[in-house]
């Protein structure tokens, strides 16, 4: 299977990532993304019967920390790095939709 990504697919993905792409870019990235997907198809072509999907390559589980308080950052220092702050909080532009 080597279905080429449609323009709609690319535009959808761009929209989800909040990227404004030009018509040329949609075309170009569509081609590049298709190549990446084709590479993934190479893996799918193997016989994967009985092999669980890999979420993590590391042979590690249960990396845990004790429930103990660690130092926090200074608020003024934190807010100084934000584009805008007000009343001890981060100031963000008007939000267009409800929380998802």
């Amino acid at each position: 299977m080597s279905a080429r990504l449609s323009r709609t697919d690319v535009e959808h993905v761009a929209n989800l990532a909040r990227l404004a792409l030009s018509g040329d870019e949609v075309e170009r990235f569509g081609e590049q993304l298709t190549v990446i997907l084709e590479h993934a198809q190479d893996v799918a072509a193997l016989d994967l019967e009985g092999i669980p999907p890999t979420a993590h390559p590391l042979p590690l589980v249960n990396v845990l920390r004790p429930d103990e308080v660690r130092p926090t950052l200074d608020r003024e220092e934190v807010l100084a790095q934000a584009p805008a702050a007000e009343d001890g909080r981060f100031r963000v532009p008007r939000i267009l939709g409800e929380a998802p």
Binding site: H56, V63, P66, R70, T72, R89, E98
Partner: protein, 482 residues
Amino acid sequence: MAEYEAVIGLEVHVELATTTKLFCGCPNEFGSEPNTNVCPICLGLPGSLPVLNRRVVEYALRLGEAMHFDVPSESIFHRKNYFYPDMPKDYQVSQYDHPICVEGWMEIDGTRIRIERAHMEEDTGKTQHIGGGGRIHDASHSLVDYNRAGVPLMEIVSHPDIRSAEQARAYVSELRGVLQAIGVSDVKMEEGSMRVDANVSIRPVGTGELGTKVEVKNMNSLRSLGRAIDYEIARQIAAVESGDRIVQETRGWDEAAGVSQGMRSKEGSNDYRYFPEPDLVPVAPSDEMRAEARAAVPELPAAHRTRLVAEWGVADQDARVLVDNPALAAYADQAMAVGAPGKDVANWCTGEILGFLNESGLSPEVLPLAPDGLAELIGLVADGTLSRSLAKDVLDECLREPKRPKQVVAERGLAQVSDEAELAAIVDEVLVANGDAVEEYRVGDEKVRGKKRGFIFGQVMRATDRKANAAMVNQLLDERLS
């Protein structure tokens, strides 16, 4: 008109009562100054790495034990990607298709409600919309406080096994009791440490299919949960009856107005592109961790109610009230343990004592009257020293001052008068002094007789400063008025 039934599933978010956040050592505290409990990890600064809080896993496993969940050998975290300023990272770390707990259940009044999953995730920050009356769409800008971002949550998702608002309330109430009993959360709906969203659909009775579901949010009490669900069921039935189609949407409940309203959300925005969180390795609960969790689960509310009813003769309703107030139930348990009859203990605890606790805002542990003091009071009523009415006065004093019931009885000379000759003399005096009432009693119909007798009884109690043994007074009146 067809008969409809509601099909309801609940998603409950519970903030866990840990000391620190899910993936960093920032304090998990309610009410701190904005943006003071933050660090590079919960602010999502580049290069920071999350590490899972061991206690959250312990709590999740406890929940698994308490609610009959299966705990798969491994569970993993995913990133849920979305653009919204309540998360500084532009994603929320949550569990997706491999949650820590799967397929549990709870029994609600004899009906088993299946629970699809319970998973760990991080809470979001708090946004406040400025201008436009605080409404998101009319605001000029918003302010964000990330103290809550990264606070550990469990999301508990039921199957659509619930059929009414009443049952939904009972489910949440029971869930709250279980979470409280296992000590993983302080479960205060009003303060937002427990948040409930309801998925509601309707279908003609007798059909098995699922209708289009509508999600209702923003209920901040059990009462508002019930109202919101009833409203949604009625709204959907009215829509279907008038030939409309139910639209899949999310609606926000407005408690003051008693209505819900569709929430505007961006088309296609709920494509979250989940992928495994590369910075967190799988959680694989060991046998030892599971055994510890099992050992940490105490008697659960259902078992506690059964024990109170079966072993102590407490009425069903009283058992429910007691178990809903764990500290009071513990107090009652101690009073029973020193020998006071369960029924009496439950009566006092769910009546006068609970009333006093609600009024004073105190918790049972700090009452000046220890549980064995309540047992002493009950003993004084049982052996005839105190009438129930005077016992209330004594209790009232003992709840406010560090005095034992016997001490109050002695100080105030309250011991009940049970000497028959003495009472008979008083009764006779009262009858003479209230000759009119006695006459009206003799000629009156049933209603008048009841009233007059009550009046005469009251006069006797008054003449004895309420110390007369009520049963004996009744007996004396029976003899004299018949």
